[in-house]
């Protein structure tokens, strides 16, 4: 048993060494992952929020179907989306002229498309939970229709921000799109490898210490973001945490 654990223990020990020594490879990959996923989340918020507002505040035929469609896309397998985008962006594909395949831009766009249904669903819930009279309130105070929409959005701001963080988490932790669309190219400039693809690669190579180091960074960031969401939703939980109930 001890012999079987040795490579794991060895791996964890070396992983800590890599992290605390500030290994440039490790941190380079981490930074690239943060950049790709962060940009993807921002893009998704930019085009997803107006769609969410439309679905929440306007009535039109087929509205429930459209909402259901976006909700169902949340569970889209990342490899399936990766394959679809690969076929679209490939040299012979309809969007091949964009030359996005195996580029950072392609990875970012792919991840943004992946997380868009998520942001729409969460943002729709957030906006729909705003008092439905807020629109009327803003309008009776002199707001135009678009100003009234902004007033509603401001009331739903917390929910929309949380949806952005949830998107970032999803993009950060996905593998399929980054691997298939990005190709996991290891390069200083124009590289497309991210934490998830490199974890997969290092495991395949038997370099467990690198894989573990990257996985630890991935987990710290993902859990860290969830902790931030939790604290932001209920700041008092931190103040009372650890206090014995009276």
């Amino acid at each position: 048993m001890v012999e079987r654990l040795n490579p794991i223990v060895d791996g964890i020990t070396k992983a800590f060494q890599l992290i605390f020594s500030g290994d440039p490879t490790v941190y380079g990959i981490a930074y690239r992952s943060l950049f790709f996923s962060g940009t993807a989340a921002v893009l998704a918020i930019l085009w997803g929020t107006p769609i969410a507002m439309l679905l929440s505040l306007k009535d039109f035929p087929g509205k429930s179907l459209v909402k259901g469609f976006f909700t169902s896309l949340i569970g889209m397998p990342t490899v399936a989306l990766g394959l679809i985008l690969f076929l679209l962006f490939s040299k012979d594909g309809p969007l091949g002229f964009l030359q996005l395949l195996y580029t950072p831009g392609g990875v970012i766009l792919g991840e943004a498309i992946l997380v868009t249904p998520l942001i729409i669903s969460i943002a729709v819930n957030a906006i729909e939970s705003v008092d439905h009279e807020i629109m009327n309130l803003a309008e009776t105070l002199g707001a135009s229709e678009s100003q009234a929409y902004i007033a509603v959005l401001k009331e739903a701001a917390n929910g929309v921000i949380f949806s952005g963080l949830a998107c970032f988490n999803r993009a950060f932790a996905e593998l399929g799109v980054a691997l298939i669309v990005g190709g996991s190219i290891v390069a200083r400039v124009g590289g497309t490898d991210v934490l998830t693809t490199d974890i997969s690669m290092y495991i395949a190579r038997g370099n467990f210490s690198m894989a573990i180091a990257l996985a630890m960074i991935l987990l710290v960031i993902v859990f860290g973001i969830n902790l931030i969401i939790l604290i932001a939703k209920n700041p008092k939980a931190i103040i009372t945490w650890g206090k014995m109930p009276q």
Binding site: D131, E133, I134, N136, L137, E139, T140, L141, S144, E145
Partner: protein, 353 residues
């Protein structure tokens, strides 16, 4: 008096239900007009039409002589403001709530600060600027909502049940503000209420509304003085009773309202009459009290409603009386549904309708 707003043959449906049924009425400049009617009579819908938030399904709306339609409703809304019955506030500070309409109108920052301060002074909320609006008490929130409307100084101010769910102190402040706004700023005010006492004291004119129809319009003295049948039909209004009055030797009247309930009133009246007792004027106790109150009845609590800082109780003494007490009194007295209680009120609290 000049006509500020006019409704002609207005009809509005919510789905298959007709909420406003061929309503025609005028609102004159500078008046306080009360829309008096029971819950569900169409008051709120009518206010929303006057606020240009709702488009009627048929009929015509005019404001300052101009027909209001989809093309100009946004511009018209700058002239009319509605204060909702529910405390509808933005999730921000009191200052930002009150300043919202001014910012939308692109009023300069310095001017906004001055106007917001003046508005908060009127509603007696100076010093509350930085407080979170949603964390205020119900009465304070209602005053913020009123300040937010007053600061815009629109030609028409619409108030939906402004005094509902307010304790006497806040209700009194609000009433003073409304009357001052009308007198000093010459603001035309239309207020919707189901409370006859409110409708009697503040407005210049009253429009009775029931089942989406305006049944009667007249001055306060007119409507209440000649014992309007339409008014008496508002059986759903709290503490209103029809009965037969007899003058006593002491110079008061005993009004028999049925079920063995005889109400002594400090006015002299013979024959058919309608009386009203404000819920705030009724004392509730667990034991019979020795007091100057001429009217004391024993009954049981049949309904309890939480109104924030106040509690509304319905007591069945043979007739249903609505009593309003503070939440503190309610918990100190440890009142529950079905409890036997006594209600008492003075003869002078009985108002003749």
């Amino acid at each position: 008096m000049a006509v500020l707003a006019e409704l002609k043959n207005l009809t509005k449906y919510y789905g298959p239900r007709m909420v406003l049924n061929h309503i025609s009425m005028q609102v004159y400049e500078g008046e306080i007009l009360a829309l008096l009617g029971p819950n569900g009579s169409g008051k709120t819908t009518l206010l929303k039409v006057l606020a240009f938030l709702l488009k009627p399904d048929a009929g015509e709306t005019k404001f300052q002589g101009e027909i209001v339609d989809e093309k100009n409703s946004e511009r018209m809304r700058l002239q009319s403001t509605l204060v909702f019955q529910r405390n509808l506030l933005f999730n921000t500070t009191v200052f930002n709530n009150v300043a919202y309409g001014l910012r939308v109108r692109r009023v300069p920052k310095i001017e906004i600060a001055t106007k917001v301060t003046e508005a908060l002074k009127i509603v007696k909320l100076i010093g509350f600027e930085k407080r979170s609006a949603k964390k205020l008490s119900g009465g304070e929130q209602q005053r913020v909502a009123l300040a937010r409307a007053l600061v815009l100084n629109t030609k028409l101010l619409l108030l939906d049940e402004p005094m509902a769910n307010l304790d006497p102190k806040n209700a009194s402040i609000l009433e003073e503000v409304i009357v001052t706004a009308n007198r000093e700023l010459k603001t035309t005010i239309v207020l919707a209420t189901h409370n006859m006492f409110e409708a009697k004291t503040m407005p210049h004119r009253i429009a009775l509304i029931n089942d989406g129809r305006i049944t009667e319009v007249g001055s306060s003295a007119d409507i209440f003085g000649r014992l309007s049948k339409n008014l008496a039909s508002f059986a759903a209004v709290d503490n209103t009773f029809n009965g037969t009055a007899k003058i006593t030797e002491a110079g008061t009247s005993i009004v028999d309202v049925g079920n063995g309930i005889l109400i002594e009133a400090a006015f002299q009246r013979q024959d058919e009459t309608s009386v009203f007792i404000s819920p705030q004027d009724i004392i509730l106790s667990k034991r019979s009290l020795e007091s100057s109150a001429r009217n004391v009845f024993r009954g049981r609590i049949t309904q309890i409603s939480d109104l924030g800082s106040l509690v509304k109780l319905t007591v069945n003494v043979g007739k249903l009386f609505v009593v309003q007490i503070t939440k503190r009194s309610f918990s100190e007295m440890d009142l529950n549904l079905g409890d036997e209680v006594f209600i008492a009120f003075k003869a002078s609290s009985v108002q003749m309708l």
